[in-house]
Amino acid sequence: MDQLSGIHPAYGLYLVLIISGGAVAVLARSLVRALSGLIITLFGVAGMYLLMAAPFIAFMQILIYVGAVTVLIFFAIMLTRTSEGESGSESGSVGRSFLGIWAAAFSTLVLAAVVVRHMPKAIPLKPEASMGRLGEFLTGPFALSFELISVVLFVAMAGAVLLGFERRKAK
């Protein structure tokens, strides 16, 4: 139990943020509310990154996810809003949601059992990795993946633009 004393009380707050936000994101009937839940969860995860003394990743999380990805999802909601009101209502059959709960709970519990039983000993928090060191790593051993991710991003953006233009030609 003495190992648990190393945990910061803010961990509980972030865990509550993650669970409540995630529940809203998955269960809310309105997609805009689900997106708000997702944003709360993203902030909770960013807080956990800060707790682990990884501020660079925490701010990247807020910049990329909260700044870019949620805006994209919001555009998706806005541009596909159908005339019959809120889309994404959860009036499905009970059996379907039961199967969903079963699948999620089973895989999560199996993984949790593995995690609890076989987790290696944690070491005290290491000193924070400096930005310069991260940059050296990104241009050294990670150079290929860094270039590849830029190519993937470019191809995805170009493909999205291409898909968007196709309709006008067909019209």
């Binding site: 998955v26 990329i64 994209l72 596909t80 895989s107 995690v115 999205a160 309709r167």
Partner: protein
């Protein structure tokens, strides 16, 4: 139980919520939101594993950064696909997106 386990359990909660969302959501946008939840869980697990074990620190942090880049690319592409689907079928409910009956 140590705090490494606690962070991994938080990541697992995100994974479970995302999996439930993917199976039960009725619209494509809802499924996209669930996928983002699962990707966040993966990033949290990566950073926790690299920060709290003797493993190399930069490995996990930069891996998470790459996951974020992939998530951004994936969200862009899925947005385009959702737009095409909603134009062609007039809806993004997955039950209605079918050209074959059966």
């Amino acid at each position: 139980m140590n705090y490494l386990v606690l962070y991994h359990l938080a990541a697992l909660i995100l994974f479970g919520l995302g999996l439930y969302g993917i199976t039960c959501r009725k619209s494509l946008v809802g499924m996209l939101i669930s996928v983002e939840l699962m990707l966040n869980g993966a990033g949290l697990a990566l950073v926790a594993s690299s920060r709290l074990t003797p493993a190399l620190d930069e490995l996990g942090q930069l891996g998470t950064l790459l996951v974020m880049g992939l998530a951004a690319a994936e969200a862009t592409l899925v947005l385009a696909i959702i737009l095409i689907v909603s134009r062609r079928f007039g809806t993004t409910e997955i039950a209605d997106i079918a050209t074959l009956k059966g």
